[in-house]
Amino acid sequence: MPSQLKRLRESLKNAGVIGQPQKSKKAKKRARQNKSGNDARLSREAALESIREEFNPFEIKKTKEKFSVAGGRKVKGAVGKPSVSKQIGEENRRKTLLVEMQQRNKVGGIIDRRFGENDPTMNPEDKMLERFTREQQRKSYKGDIFNLEDDDEVLTHYGQSLGSLPNDDFREDMDGSDDDLLRPVKRGHPLDGELQSDEGEEGGPPKKKSKAEVMKEVILKSKYHKYERQKEKEADEDLRDELDAELGDIRALLAGIPARPPPGKPVVADASADGSLHADRVAQINSGLNVDSKYDASVREMTYDKRSKPADRTKSAEELAEGRAKQLQKLEKSRQKRMRGEESSDEEPEEEEEAGSDDEFGLGKGIKLAADEKEFVHGDSDSEEEESESEEESDEEGDNGAEEADASGPRPSRRRDLDNDDAYSDDYQSDDDPDAIASDGEASGSEESESEEDDLMESENEAPASKPTDSGGKAGPKGDSALPFTFPCPQTHQEFLKVTAKHKVEDLPTIVKRIRVLHHPSLAAGNKEKLSHFMLVVFDHIIYLADLPTIPPMDVLEILLRHLHSLSKEFPQASATRFREYLQKFFDRIGQQKKTKRSDLVILTALSIIYPTSDHFHIVVTPAMLVVARWLSSNAPTDIEKLVHGCYMVTLCLQYQRLSKRVIPEALNYVYQSLVALSPVPPTKVPGSFPAHGVESISKLRISSSSKDKLELGKLKFREALYPDSISNVATMQITLAYAFTQQLLAFAKLYSSKTAFLELTKPAASMLSHYTSPTCIKSLPKAFTAYINDTALPELERLRSHAQKFRRPLELHHHRPLPIPSNYPKFDEEYSLDRHKGSYDDDRDRKELSKLKAEHKKERKGAMRELRKDSQFIAREKLKERKVADQEYHDKMKRIVNMIQNEEGAASNAYEKERAGRKKPRK
């Protein structure tokens, strides 16, 4: 730090008080011009004053630091100028508080807002000038908006001034007598770039024209055009007739190309144009006017028609197969994604928001998890979900694209027109059968699509008749002939029953199909809703058929199921809702220990086909799985009927999990329980840890030795097993069931062979099977069955088990990056400063905010208190001052009075003395 003296000199130099000021001559000159000598002296005084103040040690107050602390800490208030700040405060108060004080208890008053009135430094001329400009400004602001006169801006449309645009309109008004019909064509469409009117270009450069000029121009122009047209009209007339005559041929050409109008185009126009071709001609003769307008309309529309594209090349068989394979692969890929639970399942994003951390595992009420567990619940983070969703979307788009690309010819989308006669078949093929998608094509793929003719809608009389061996096969065509071709779309099951009452069961597929064709959503507005109701009807009818005491023809049921499937695809939400309702009811029935119906089994089967059961979560399948599991766990195999139902349920479990291979403890339990219940001799100790529910002590289901005869092992017959009247031989049934359960056991074993707990899962299976082959059991079992167990089941199971044992390793689930030990030593901060408040290093943001706020509040409070205190001091001081003044005045007054009195007194005494001396004198 330079010495005090040096610093003084420096500052004096800077202020230009001493030394040679290094200024250019110009600057000097300017400076001299600017200020008179007096001014210069004044500024010099001011500069000196400030320098003096700066260097006055008594003006500055310093707090001495006792120890200097590391970290370069700045202590607030170490240096201060108390007198200056006091002065400032005093000034401020004098400006505000004092004024207030003086105006207290006073009401009203006039505030002088005249410019410069209280500024004594201004000349009156300047004042007046300034006042005048202000007044002018105020005036001009107000009037500006509404002043039309001096408006330089011009309203424009498409960059042209509006003044030039309405020319056409004016012209139209002018020559109202004009009967020229061609004019609209000439005028063209406002958006048609090529036909943009020349007038526009003419008026392009924004040249100012008066109104009269414009009008004149317009009139001239219209007259010119009129002449022009009249001249052309005659010339065109002949040509036009000629063209009209040839129009039919042109149309024929256009129609020959299988171009379809673009989507969204009104249907009527085309149809009318199409249909009334000859009528057109007639009308033309009768009244040229009408026809021409029609013709114009159609021509105009034709300009919008897409150029017909060349049809796609017919695909070769390899290409078709390839496309189809691609499609299938895509489907499989998305399925696998869903199976892993990667795809965003329904409503998850919303749910996460609304449910918060309440129900993360989705286990129902009362389950709570911290927010950081969210990822467990859905397996993904949001971003992934979104990503996959978009992926899915793009997949779908891709699908559509592929569809369109695959199909030969311009591929009809679903919302295309109806003018095409073979729309239905096309549509349904695309809906129902990927084969059809690939091999579709009206012209080329016909052979193929015929060869794999199984499409629901395509095959008119194929459904029941496809099996000529069937009893319904013969009835099919006959029934068809008797069947009416139109049916109302039944909205309730009762209506449907009424409709179908007269017809045979075998005709059902035809009826359903005709209803669907007749009420296709594209045919009428309300059809979509009608069909979605009809889907529920089909659903109900399936239940109805399944619950009939006699078995309906299986292929009818099957076709109904397939109809349900394709309808479900059209109305996924409605069908899912219906399925869920049904599941809830079924679940309640299980709870009430009611009998299981055949329809329950059929609906669950339908569900396994209609919905992808391998999904990690599915709005329909997940509840269905729960329902099946509940059934299996609450219906112990205590009689033959339950065994049969249970066997079907276990089959369904296998069917549901055939791809995803998820573990269903209930199904395995059921198989074990059933095997225990069926075994000829109860096992000495029930193996495994499945709940026995006392089945080991039920003896009525045991396979007895009497049933040991020659027996063909076969599949369970739906017809026999589920229609109790037709159970002919209980003993045979038992064996068949045992066989089925053994097979299912094996199927489960194969399904779960990759599970780490495979050995534990199948341990009871091994012991049960070996129990079946023990000498006590073997004698009451038929040979074929024991042979099956000994030769196929047991070795297979053992093979799987030994394989699993061989590859068994201890779990190594926690190969995570080791969690850092929570460290509590202070985090080193490069920019750490003691000046920053401690609170600002807080990691907790809320707490940080809070402490900040608290500190601020404290500071403000202290400041306010200080201000108030100072205010009151100021007031006291001012009052004292006032009083002092008043007192002084009083004293002065008194003094004056006393003086005056004394003066008078003095004068009087003087006079008296004088008088007395005067009197004495004469005595002397």
Partner: protein, 593 residues
Amino acid sequence: MAIPSSNGPLSGSKKRKRVAADESTRKPKSKPKDLPVITKAVILRPAPKSKKPVEPTSDENDEEEDEDMASGSEDDEDDLASRQAEMLQLEEDIISAKTATARTKGLNSLLEQLEDESEEIAIMTAVGLCRTFCRLMSRGQLVRHKDHSPEQLKMVKEAKETYINYLNGLGRMLEGGEGTSLKLSMRLLKEESIHMKPSDDYYFPFLTYGVIIKHLLLSDSSDLVTVFAAEYIYEFSDLRLEFFKAIPTVSKEIPPSNIRYSENLFNILYNLKDLPSTSEELTDLNLYLPAPTKKKHPLFQIAAHQRYFQETWLTLLSRPLPSKQRDILTILPKRIIPYFPNPRLLMDYLTDTYNTGGVIALLALQGLFNLMMSHNLDYPNFFPKLYALLDRDLMHVKYRSRFFRLLELFLNSSHLPAVLVASFIKRMARLCLAAPPSAIVTVIPFTYNLMRLHPTCTFMLHRVLGKEVDGKALRTEGYVDPFDEEEVDPLKTGALESSLWELETLQSHYHPNVATLAKILSEQFTKQQYNMEDFLDHSYTSMLEAEMVKKITKDPVVEYIVPKKIFGEEEKKDDDGILPPAQNMLLEFWDFE
């Protein structure tokens, strides 16, 4: 006679019901209605002879009340009326009889009539006898007095004998489920307490009460027992206390094999609620008999109430009652143990039930735990027995959540050996392989918590085999699970060396939520503890409900391909073998044609 006999049982039962149910409420307010009957009865009865030297003024009232009661049985039929008149005459004779023989003779004839086949008459006689004895009692003719003459003494003695016989007769009627007899006997009880006190202060006729209780509890009609319990035992504190007092002695006379008796006793005790628990509650009691004057009477001592309560329960528990054991164990912790002055006496019972195993043991566990916690019960082999409770049915019983709550408590100590905890974990995991999802959902967070508490157990989730393992053997035979399922002692199962493959497998459980929950075991253990309460009470119903609550917002995915055949084999086409169709499991096992 034909008409009344056919009518008899019906009207009798009707009356009985009315008597049983209505009498207590009817008495005070329904005088006007009964008035004509009373006058009739008064007319029928000859005027009382004024031979007796002193007739207490209260006698008249008593008689009136007697009539009131009697009015229930004397009704419409003339025949009955005439018999009634006869009986009334006989009663008068008995009361006015001066010799022992005359009186005994009269009483005996009435007693014989008590055995009458006709229920109607039997009841009437019982009522008459009750009236007679009440009057005798009120005249002091059932109590010996020092200034009695020998003849009088004999009269008293014989009257007493017949009185006891009469009581037994009433008891038999009670056993038959006769409602009126209950009424009568309770009335006699009251009379006795007033007129037959040996000294001036409070007297409870416990002998009579004992007889009543004994017969009542032997009765077939549970209705009567319920009525008795509801109207007397639960209502009046003194009756309840004396009931408790009487039970131990009465029970000694009944062989333990008598299930009827035990069940009746159980029913009374099971529904007994709001017992006093502090002495303050005993100040303003509802008493059947006039209250004792002494402040220190056992009736006002909480200790006495509790002691007799305890004895009664112990008596009941000492009798075999397998059908009700579940109920007893359910109410034991909340409604019995707190009122026991010495709950340790329940130890034997609880230990025995616990040792039986199964669901009963689950329930006994709670009681045992109470005793261990608050009464310093030392239970040897507790954990092996607890381990044994984890059996195949555990996951499927109704009391599962109750058990898991306790198990959480028991295993919550961090001082338990990790080996033991590992055994429990492994056992639970095994059971999970056959458990419903609701149980799995309980076990997984529980396992997680245990692992947090005993970090050694995480070896069951993560074990990297080191050099000590024979690599070659491992390659050929795989890792042999060291866990011994059959081992009873949880310290020796070797579970700690095993792995939780079971829980890992459950990560592919069919229920998506269970599967994701199971995944917490393979994630990093960042959470301190799961709150078990959230996972305990689930069922299929609650889980399905949780599913059904979800709304369909997006179109659910529907299988794209409509299969050509559902119930039959699809014809094979070999146009493309890229993706073989998933096999249809339905067709594997079922033939739909």
